[in-house]
Structure formats: C-alpha cells, structure tokens
C-alpha cells in the first residue's frame, strides 16, 4: 500500500509519551491474543473521503444504534401479550377500560416508568430518522452513480436494508395494540386475503386464526426484536465490510482520480468526526423526543375492531403503501365464481414494481452503457441527465402515493372535496412523473451547458467595458486550474447504432439515455477560448489602461 502522508510538524510531548507506554502494554496483550497489530496496521490510518453528502449513511447507522439502545430499554417493561386486563393506571380517561396487556404495558412505559416516555419517544423518533436517513443516503448513492461497478451488490444490500427498515417500523408500531396500529394490521389482513388461492390461508397462519386473534402481537414482537434486527445487523456488517473492500467513492476534483482515495485517516480525524457525529445524532433525536410528542396511543385507545377515526395515517415511510389503496378504483371481478380483487392486487404490483426497478437500476444502467470499468469517482447528478431525471420521477411517484395517503388531511386543511382530490392524485400519478422526468432532464442539460461556458470563459464579473469602437465587452475572471478541472473531468457517453454486437433494443435504450448530450470541453476548445480571452483582454486593457475599477471605485481610493 502506498499512502502519501503529510508530515506532522508537531513534536510529541511528555503527556503523549506516557500515553504511548500505556498503549504499548495493552497493545502487546491484545496483539498476542487477537493479532490486533495487523488489524490496526490495516485499518487505523485508512483514508476516508469527506463530503457532507456522505453523512446520511452514517446517520442511518447511528439512528439504528439508538434504536437498539432505546429498544432494549423498552423490552424490559413491554409485555407482548394480548391477554385482556382492566386498565387501572394513572391515565384517568381509560381507567376501567378493557385493554390488552400489550396496551397496558405500553401505558405503563409512557405514564409510570421513570424515563419511559422519553425512551419510547426516542425509539419512535429514531425510527423515523432512520428511514429518512436511509432514503436520503440511497438517493445520494443513486444520483452520484455510486451504485456502479464494483458496488452493485452493495446497492442490493442497501436496498434490502431499506425494505427491512420498513418491516421493522411496521412491526414496531403495531405492538402497542392501539386503535391506529390495529387498523394498520387490519389493512394487512385485507391485503393478504385478496391474494388469489392462498390469501385466506396466509391470513389465518399469520394471525393464528381469524383476525385479530391473540397471537399476532407476540409474533410481531419476535419479528420486531429478534428476526428483523438480526437481519439488519448482519446486512449492515456486510454493507460496511464492502465499503472497506471497495473503499469509499469520492467526487472528482484536483488530485482525485479513479485510482486513489483522498481524505482523512480513521485515526484521528475521520474517527473523531464520525464518532462525534454519532453523539450529535443521538443528541438531536433526544432533543426532539424531549420536546415533541409522538404516537400518543392513549388518545387512540385500545384496539377494538369497531372504531376508527378519520385522519388515520401510518408512519411516513409506510404512507406510500396506503396511497395506492386510496387511489385505485373499485375494480374487482369474478371468474368461475372466484374473486380477483384488482383493487388490491394492482396497488401491490405497483409497489413491487417501484421497488424492483430501483433494486435493478445498476444492472439496467450497466446493460445500457456496456461500461465495465470500475467507478470510484462519484458523478455530479447533472452530468447524468437521464439517470437523474429517472430518480426524480421515481421520487415524485413515491411522493404522489405518500401524499395520496394523506388526502383526507389535505382535503380538510385546504377545504377541498376529497373526491376531487383523489381524482387529482389519480391523474398526477401518471402525469407528474413524466413532467418531472422531462423538467429534470432539461435542467440537467442546462446546467451542463452553463458549466461548459464557465469552464471555457470563466466567471462573469458584471463589469462591462466599452471600447473605442463602441463594442461592449464583459470582463471574465478566469477559473483556476483546480476549479476548471472539476468541470472538465467527467466522462461523456454517446448513443450507439444497432449492429456490430449492439441489439436494436440496446441501441434504442442508448439513444433514450444519451441522445441529448452536452459534450464536455476538449483541450483544443479550451486553448481556443483562452486565445480568444487573451485577445479580448488586450482590447479591454487598451480601453481601460489595465485598471478594471469602475469610476465610482476610483473616486473612493
């Protein structure tokens, strides 16, 4: 391994050498038993590139740690039992009500256990932050092309983590056995039953009989605190090992190439920043939990199949799965006496399709480009217009579904007819992603054009000089070599013609991806532009005498 390290100018002091002696004793003990020196040699000075957009994956990891800590606290007091008891706790509005033990113990955590409400709220808020961070991280990776070879499999692992995060969240907020969570389970039950042939069997197996039964909470508890976290933990481990194997991507910049990593070593800078960031995330989630109530299930009351209130929404990351159910028309048909419930099967197929296209995108894109190089330089999103436009269209589709799941709240807030609003979302589901795709793509191309001009001509200074012949010339401030490099370093792709090993389908796909392209600046173009600028500078200097200050500025000095 060749690592270029800046020399450290600081001398080690007495305090440092005492530390070193202590470390040597402990280090010797560990190395003889764990071969620790080899690991330290491999890892301690490993270089990680630094950029604010790389922070979201860490944020997801840290909120998961907070979930484990706060969740462990909750398991000490939560009783996942559906046995019915009469509530006699301090919350007066529910005294005397028949509730399940799960509900009662959740009430105990909230109202009676010291710090219980805080840890409960931290657990729920951390779950929301976890999913936000996963989504933002995923789309950072998507928009910068960081999923490309050799990271396709790690993309799939990350995708699985996102899906598992939804399962963890759903199984978690179903546990308190309140009206809201019970109705969420009821929807799951209805969806399962709609699956042809096996649906009712699946529902009976999941619920241990008819809905709601007395098995579902204990079962979800095992899923929530054992199966899913174990799977998440295992996948996170693989995810991170692969980050080390691949080394992190970095943005193109001066000195940064596809064959190196430029950044800070784990010890001390990256470690201190990343470790510190854990505490920052922890602190912010705790602050939110101290000040902002979440899932006040005592207001909803214990689950009973009969009541439900308007404004029933799941946690934000499950909203999109509810939106499709609200938008689909009541399509259902009967064939040979058997029912096919398209009003549930179509939304489920759409959800599956949206997830599948996201999971498979790295493979779709590499099939189109045929680019089999390793990619360690992250793209700027505007340099990949079709990918970026697709990503934005996906997000818009997702958001339309999520917004549709709040159509009742929107209707009330904006005094609109819920029927009109539903129709609006139905149309938007088809139209908005297409518009978003088109607009994003054009914006990316415009930005490419702008950056191209910037690389060639430098920054506009808003200072205009009139020459003796009456010409108006704006003074441009040239970019430094380092600034320019970031604008000219990227790769450029072009469409292929069918034939010579290119199928007509692939030719069409490459045309769709790369038909509209802004070619990057070439060295010849830059030379020409600089020559032109030199000539222009000559003219400007002649007119101004080399003094570019405005008359007003001259008057001041």
């Amino acid at each position: 391994m060749t690592t270029t390290t800046p020399s450290s100018g600081k001398q080690s002091s007495d305090g440092d050498s005492r530390l070193l002696k202590l470390g040597a004793v402990g280090g010797d003990f560990l190395d003889q038993r764990l071969s620790g020196a080899g690991f330290v040699k491999f890892f301690a000075r490993k270089v990680f590139p630094d950029h604010w957009s790389f922070m979201f994956g860490e944020m997801a990891l840290y909120s998961f740690v907070i979930l484990l800590i706060s969740g462990t606290f909750l398991t000490m007091f939560f009783d996942p039992s559906m046995e019915e008891v009469v509530y006699n706790g301090p919350y007066t509005a529910l005294q005397g009500a028949t509730v399940s033990r799960a509900f009662e113990s959740t009430m105990e955590i909230a109202f009676e256990v010291k710090g219980g409400l805080l840890f409960r709220q931290m657990h729920h808020w951390a779950a929301l932050v976890f999913m936000v961070a996963i989504f933002v991280h995923m789309f950072r990776v998507f928009f910068t092309g960081a999923f490309r070879k050799p990271r396709e499999l790690n993309w799939l692992i990350g995708f699985s983590l996102m899906v598992l995060g939804m399962v963890a969240g759903f199984s978690g907020y179903s546990l308190p056995d309140d009206v809201l969570s019970g109705n969420g389970l009821r929807v799951v039950d209805g969806l399962m039953k709609s699956i042809p042939i096996v649906g009712t069997y699946l529902s009976m197996l999941l619920f241990g009989g008819e809905f709601p039964g007395t098995d579902i909470i204990p079962r979800l508890f095992t899923i929530h605190i054992l199966l899913v976290p174990a799977a998440i933990l295992g996948l996170i481990a693989i995810h991170l090992v692969l980050v080390v194997v691949h080394k992190h991507t970095q943005y193109a910049g001066p000195g940064r190439t596809n064959r190196n990593v430029v950044g800070h070593p784990v010890l001390p800078v990256f470690g201190a920043k990343a470790g510190g960031f854990f505490f920052l995330v922890f602190g912010i989630i705790t602050f939110i939990s101290a000040t902002t109530s979440i899932n006040a299930m005592w207001i909803y009351g214990p689950y009973d199949p009969s009541p439900v209130s308007a404004g029933s929404q799941p946690d934000w990351y499950m909203l999109w799965t509810d939106g499709g159910l609200r938008l689909i028309p009541g399509w259902e048909f009967t064939i040979f006496g058997y029912v096919i419930s398209l009003n549930m099967l179509i939304p489920m197929a759409i959800y599956g399709g949206l997830l599948a296209v996201l999971a498979l995108w790295p493979f779709i894109e590499s099939w189109v480009t045929g680019d089999e190089r390793e990619h360690h330089l992250a793209d700027k999103p505007y340099n990949a217009p079709v990918r970026t436009a697709f990503g934005v269209a996906w997000i818009v589709t997702y958001l339309i579904l999520a917004l549709a799941a709040t159509n009742d709240l929107i209707a009330i807030a904006l005094q609109l007819s819920i029927n009109d609003l539903t129709w609006l979302f139905r149309i938007a589901f088809f139209v908005a992603p297409v518009l978003a795709f088109y607009i994003t793509k054009r914006l990316c191309l415009s930005m490419q054009r702008h950056k191209r001009d910037l690389a060639l001509h430098g920054r506009e200074t808003s200072r205009i000089v009139r020459t003796g012949s009456g010409d108006m010339i704006e003074i441009h401030e040239p970019l430094s070599e380092y600034e320019r490099w970031e604008l000219v370093a990227h790769d450029d792709y072009r469409p292929l013609k069918a034939g010579k090993g290119v199928s007509s389908l692939r030719a069409k796909a490459t045309s769709f991806f790369f038909k509209d392209r802004i070619e990057p600046v070439t060295p010849a173009e830059l030379r020409e532009a600089l020559e032109h600028a030199g000539h222009e500078k000559h003219v400007v200097d002649e007119a101004t005498g080399g003094d570019y200050r405005t008359p007003a500025e001259k008057a001041v000095h």
Partner: protein
Amino acid sequence: MNTNTDGSSPSRVSTLAPKEGGGFPNPGLPPHSPRQADISEPAEKRAERLVAFLFLLSVAGTVVFIAAYFLVTPLDTNIFAEEGTPRALWWSNLVTGLGLAIAVFFIGAAAVHWAKTLMPDQEWVEERHDIRGSDETRKIAAEMITGGLAETGIGRRPVMVTAMVAALAALPIAVLAPLSTLGPLPGNKLHHTFWGHNPGQRLARDHDGTPIKLSDVAMNSIFHVMPEGLTHETPHHLEERAKAAAVIVRIDPRLGQNEESMSMGVQGVLAFSKICTHVGCPVALYEQQTHHMLCPCHQSTFDVTDGAKVIFGPAHRPLPQLPIEVDAEGYLVAPGDFTEPIGPSFWNIHKDK
C-alpha cells in the same frame, strides 16, 4: 480492472465517448492553506478551551439527567408539578430528555470541533487496488475449487449426486409442516358471523350493549351496533366483534332506490355491515344529508339509499346488509346473518361450503 479507455470489453460495446485529445491532465491536489489554529497560538489555545468547555457542558447534562431521573418523575417526587398529574409527566420527559440531549450532543460537538480545528487537516492520498484478484490468485482459486470438487467425485458419481439433490430439494418442504401449525385452515369461518350462528339476536348499542327499540331510531340517525349476546365473556369476542360490527341508519323510505334492500329493513331502518369490503376498516362516517357512508381509511363511499352500493373509492362490493325485524317488545332483531360474507373480498368468498 478493466483499463480500456472506452470501458468496453471484448464482448460488449460501450457507450463511453473517447476523450478528444486524451482529455485534460489532472492538476493534482491544490496547495494547502493553513487554518487559524495552525498559525496562531492564541487561536489554538482558544480552540482547545472551547473543546474542553463543550466536554464539560456534556458533564453538566449528565448531572441534570441523573438528577431529573429521581427528582422530576411522573409518579413520585416531582419538583415542578404535582405528582401523578399530566404536568408531572410532561416535566419529567422534558427535563430528563434535555439533560440527556445535552450530555450526548456536546460530546459530539466537542469531538467534531477538536477534529476540525486542532487535528491535522491536510488530506492523505491512498492508492486503490483492483477489486479482482490477480490472474495468479484467480488461477489458484480455480484450481482449488476444481481440485476440491474432483476429490468429492461429484462429476463421476451421478446416482449419488442425484440423491443429494433430491434430499436437499425435499428438506425445505419439511418447513411447510411447522408453518401449517401457525394457524387453523380458513374453512368457512370467514363466511359467517355471530349473527348467523345465533339467529334472533337483538341489535345492541356498541358502546354500552343496551338493545335498541325501533322507536329509539330517529330519522337520519346512525347507531353502531353489535349483537346483544356478544359480550366480553363470549369466546373469541374480538374476532366475533371484527365480523359482527354493524350500523343501523334510518332514512325516509321514500328515498329508497333499492326495493330489495328496503324490504330487509323496517320502516326505513336499515342495518349494514360496518366492515369495509375493501380492506376491512370500520366504515365509521355517515353523512346525514346525502345518506352516504364513508370509510375513513381509503374513502370508499357507500350509498345506503341504494343497498350500500359503492359510489366512490376503492371498494367494489356493497356493504353486506343485515336483514332486521321488530320483536314483540319493539326491539330490533336480526333473524339471521348478513346477506353475504362481510369484509374484504377473498378468493372463494362466493363459495360457502
């Protein structure tokens, strides 16, 4: 690593455009500009003091947290509010939470400030290595696998291999046995409700279980009802409630558009299942003016003047109707079950065994 300039391999043509003129040379890392703490001793001391202060803030937060855990509690001692009141809970959550937030946040703030101001900020450069193994490693790996497989004799003993495949294929089927014991078979449980199993039940108010007289039901009113005999003592009472839940509404009989539906009611009093035929939420909202019932979950809308037909939203089947009569004492009773299975549609909903 594939180092072809255009990224293509012999088998695939790449869309990568070759760089005209070979592209630009990388100018290398820009010169490093020192930070204040690198060049000024007072600035360095200031940063050091600030980091120490931030760590001490965290200590203060920890003290607040521990103290609040015992002095600002929801049920016992609470120095800000009366014990056991909602205010006490609010204060307990706020003060313990703020203490913990300060305790953890400022450790992070101190560490990050330390890293940014006092640790070296010159960037390191590390070379990447090919992800793939060297040709030699790959050759050895391939030889190991082929050698190991040859030692098993997998290629030469087809009978044994076939038997192994059979064993490995059969074993997963065994999983089905324990899986099947997770729950009973559906049978026709979903086709019938408590009303059908116990004909002649009075319709009782859901919230207090008292039976409803025809004369209690005012025009345009709605009642949420359960069978009178379905109580907390009933076995599987939640499952029964999940299927038996119903509503009764009273509309002006002249508004009725569906004779069959009206004939199953009494003087414009009609009883319908409360469980939505879409995914099973309770259809809890009733618009008195339009006589529409609305499911708050996904907004399926049912017209009770027309046999609870779906007029908007994702549901397809009308809400099943519960035929009702009036008994000798004037109470509403249900002589039997709903007209069809309640709740979300399923595959064999029309095949009652």
